[in-house]
Symmetry: C2
Subunit: 257 residues, 2 copies
Amino acid sequence: MTQQENRVTAGMVVIGDEILSGRTKDVNIGAVADFCTDLGIDLIEVRVVPDEMDTIVEAVNALRARCTYVFTSGGIGPTHDDITADAIARAFGVNLPINAQARAMLETRWKQAGTEVNEARLRMARIPEGADLIVNSVSAAPGFRIGNVHVMAGVPIIMRAMLEALAPTLKGGRKVMSVTVRAGVGEGTIGGPLAALQAEYPDVKMGSYPQMGNEKVMTELVLRSADQALLHEAAEKVRAMVAAAHEKAGIGPPESA
Amino acid sequence: MTQQENRVTAGMVVIGDEILSGRTKDVNIGAVADFCTDLGIDLIEVRVVPDEMDTIVEAVNALRARCTYVFTSGGIGPTHDDITADAIARAFGVNLPINAQARAMLETRWKQAGTEVNEARLRMARIPEGADLIVNSVSAAPGFRIGNVHVMAGVPIIMRAMLEALAPTLKGGRKVMSVTVRAGVGEGTIGGPLAALQAEYPDVKMGSYPQMGNEKVMTELVLRSADQALLHEAAEKVRAMVAAAHEKAGIGPPESA
């Protein structure tokens, strides 16, 4: 089986004016990226869009057509600017009724807290027809899954709880492993031989990351592959290449992490 | 003059496998968002894409067609995975020669540092034909501007230095001002009346943000508009609405920030 055949991909849509204005600094992209990597899912694109119907619909439709899974964060609260459920219903061409199960979950929590039921709060029980709920252990208001699209809250702690809830429902790809080689020379010194090794090992992805702001020059080379034997073979060659560069520069052998 | 006529917009493309794998957590989106807000530019969409030619070209072309400005971060270093300059040249249909001015900037720095000139390092002097350079005060390797697209480094400190360098070349829109009203009740309590006020003031954007993890329930309402008089009129009505909700809940008057 090739890597390609077994590839599972994801796209993410981050929804919210507050991210685009800078008022809120997003941390959900990094959380979804880590989550996908752990499951062997390749996150291939993220879009950050405002609370605007057409833009959300366009982003969700573009990504759901090309990815195995789509994850969204934001816009499922009780106020007028929370229009994600409306946009997803429009993207799938379905209605958006009050969902009895979602309403029951919310009413149970509201009863415990002595919170009144009103129209704004009931917005959170509107779920596109045909969707399954994603349990929210933090504040009860559920997310939902429709087709390959998973709609989650924007509040980071709730989003992470929803990811945990839906993890068992996702199929992962082959787990991608990584090896890091630390070089005590700059990117420019090893860029040429690294490119040659990348060409020799197309199924091992080689990334090069300069470490700024350290006392000494450092470059981290990160090799990733789903093929463990190939990964270690390529890593040996990268280590040898870095060792040669170190010797030329008069420093010791490279570290691996 | 209406707000629309004077609207200046921006899109951003974050380029790099390391963001999508979770290995690096992006902080450049927030920095560009803050930068745009300060200049009165509306950041309307961000895309995070991998180090893949076609995907970068598609994202840049989509956003440069619909935004006043596009900002990119990442992929302009010396290694084989740094293909942003190649992608921008392809998006604009121009060549990518070594730029004499960029080469001179780099060679001056390399001479000071005793760094050898090689093919990998010279990749950083490749600039699309017709582009202007963006000075990099941190590590000398320049960014560039071509058409409405501004290509910057991914290393956050360098990207911020490049933003500072290009700020005087950008036209800002009318500066958008904001007023924050803090409510000591949940979003669900005020969602209904807030939606009515939003409908009454379409040119004042009203966002509602629950504050999680505090001892007491809090909601921040952020009003934004380029029209100061209208903003303050709407803010007075929001304060009155929140005061009424507070009175009903038996708590004091709302705070403004």
